[in-house]
């Protein structure tokens, strides 16, 4: 028996979520009195692979196969299923991100394994196996029983802390046969922003809404974000107006995030916006309207005009950080 965790890497390095997943998988393995095994697909060197061992993983299965250079959901599903069977995995854990959302449901059908998607904490019980997941776009949570022998969990990003536990992990290099004629998805081009903090990875997010009044007013907001090492985001009207790119849109139909700290600046807080950010640990709201719904979701608030408050906030951060 084992708990299998599917990790993700980019440019030979693990994404932060891989360590979150490893920490989570190790805790689930503890609950089941078994070990966590990590699967890495890609060109990742041994010293990087061993980092997974710092988060409680006992064994790392490493697959480096050219045919898997690009993501083909069907081919990846076959590989994960093969490893799950080889490791007699009872629980398989993936991220609830773009990749995990594409792979986990295929895996669920392949292995006839129930899936708990968007889970945000450890299983509530292991017998019956019940997980806690987001429902109604953050307006409720569901206790969901996974009724099959093998279970799949996709973990909401930023919902689980990194837990360092050195476990002396071993690396097993494993080769798989991938039938190239079965690869139907061809990647023609990759357009990747570099040097920017990803909204879904960021611990602090600074977000602007219509109360910013014009795309020309974003400079102090970006400066605040830079000072805090934060990612920038925006509300739906702002991305619809084209003031900021749609990649920055946070909310129910945009990106759903759970940073430690979320600044909602000039955002009134429509239900759909709050649905996308309500899992943030702390929300700071800055708005001219004291009755704006965003103050109902925030722990800290300033009633005031973004264009006046932001420069003062930037100065305050400089002063405090400068000490």
């Amino acid at each position: 028996m084992s708990v299998l965790v599917f990790t993700e890497n980019w440019d030979g390095k693990f994404k932060k979520l891989s360590f979150e997943l490893a920490s989570y998988a190790s805790k689930v393995a503890e609950m089941l009195n078994t070990n966590a095994v990590a699967l890495s697909i890609g060109n990742v060197d041994e010293s990087e692979l061993k980092k997974l061992g710092n988060y409680g993983v006992k064994k790392i299965v490493n697959i480096n196969n050219d045919a898997l250079k690009n993501l083909d959901d069907r081919a990846y599903t076959s590989v994960i299923a093969e490893i799950a069977q080889k490791e007699s995995s009872e629980v398989i854990i993936l991220s609830n991100n773009n990749m995990g959302k594409g792979l986990a449901p295929r895996l669920s059908v392949r292995l006839k394994a129930a899936i708990g998607a968007g889970v945000s904490q450890l299983p509530l019980s292991t017998s019956p196996f019940t997980v806690y997941k987001r429902a109604f776009s953050g307006n409720a949570f569901a206790h969901l029983e996974l009724k099959t022998g093998v279970k799949i969990i996709t973990l909401a990003q930023n919902s689980f802390e990194l837990i360092e536990t050195a476990n002396g992990a071993s690396v097993e290099n494993f080769s798989v046969n991938v039938d190239a004629s079965n690869i139907k998805v061809q990647v023609k081009d990759v357009q990747k922003q570099t040097g920017k903090i990803l909204i879904t990875d960021a611990e602090i997010v600074v977000s602007g809404g219509r109360g910013m009044k014009s795309p020309d007013n974003w400079e102090p907001l970006v400066e605040l974000a830079n000072l805090l090492g934060a990612a920038t985001a925006c509300s739906r009207p702002v991305s619809d107006e084209g003031w900021r790119s749609h990649e920055e849109h946070t909310g129910q139909t945009g990106k759903i995030i759970a940073p430690n700290l979320y600044f909602a600046i000039g955002i009134s807080g429509a239900t759909q916006h709050i649905a996308g950010v309500s899992s943030s640990k702390y929300i700071v709201a800055i708005n001219t309207d004291k009755d704006a719904p965003i103050f109902g979701a925030a722990q800290y608030g300033i009633i005031g005009d973004a264009s006046k408050v932001l420069p003062k906030l930037v100065e305050a951060v400089k002063e405090v950080k400068g000490k």
Binding site: A117, F136, D189, Q191, Y282, A298, Y300
Partner: protein, 249 residues
């Protein structure tokens, strides 16, 4: 080329949800039901493709798994412009159940492109689309933010962490789409509403499928502590609170 858009019937996104029967069921009293927002955008994109003769898209159908109570939502999809609709007459038990019903219908009806929204706004599973592709053994592309047909070739933008990939995929396949796929959902015009009344809704009875999951109960989010206000003239106090009280910066 034939496109199928799978639609889910969900409470309007501004609904204040409440639960009944020991927090196991949604209280549907007074709920306004709508097409799931991502499915509405999918339908809009499918219709845009059909409007462009160069794509070779001949028809856009919609499919839904649900009881007769969902017919107004299906009619709305027809009013927006879908040519015809399919309804599998069953209460959706879980994602696997729904995907299995849809797969059965697609095997009979055959489509070149099947489009599903990334998630339904009620259960937030993000699972039906990819499950469907596996049941059909079709390729699938997830996190799709743009879908074009150029000289008969399907060209897709797929979101990855911090960027996007341009991918080609052969038909038939399943696209799981998200934000960006269409700018604004298309609105039904009066003519469309009139025409929708006579468009066909084909009825299928469900196949026997055992659901893999069961909701034990729902709970409401824990209420947050009330907001602490800081004077707009003194934002330094906010930074100090974030540093010393919340300890997040």
């Amino acid at each position: 080329m034939k496109i199928l858009v799978c639609i889910s019937n969900v409470p309007d996104t501004t609904t204040k949800v409440k639960f009944v029967e020991g927090n196991t069921k949604l209280d549907t009293t007074g709920i306004q039901w709508v097409i799931n927002p991502w499915d509405e955008l999918s339908l809009t994109r499918a219709l845009e493709l059909k409007d462009d003769a160069s794509t070779g898209v001949k028809s856009v159908s919609v499919a839904h798994v649900g009881s007769i109570a969902a017919e107004p939502t299906i009619r709305k999809a027809l009013a927006i412009g879908a040519d015809d609709a399919i309804r599998v007459n069953a209460e959706p038990a879980d994602a696997y159940y729904v995907a299995s019903q849809l797969a059965e219908v697609i095997k009979k009806e055959q489509f070149d492109i099947v489009i599903c929204g990334i998630e339904s706004s009620d259960f937030n599973g993000s699972t039906v689309g990819s499950m469907l592709s596996e049941l059909l053994d079709y390729p699938s592309v997830s996190a799709v933010s743009s879908l074009k047909i150029e000289n008969g070739q399907v060209v897709i933008s797929r979101e990855i962490d911090g960027g996007k990939e341009i991918v080609h995929v052969s038909t038939p396949f399943v696209a799981v789409v998200q934000k960006g796929i269409a700018k604004e959902p298309r609105i039904a015009a009066m003519r469309g509403i009139m025409m929708a009344r006579t468009k066909p809704i084909k009825l299928y009875e469900p196949i026997a499928v055992e659901p893999l999951t069961q909701v034990v109960s729902f709970e409401m989010p824990k209420p947050r502590a009330s907001c602490k206000f800081v004077d707009a003239e003194n934002p330094k106090q906010l930074i100090e609170l974030l540093q010393n009280e919340a300890k997040v910066i």
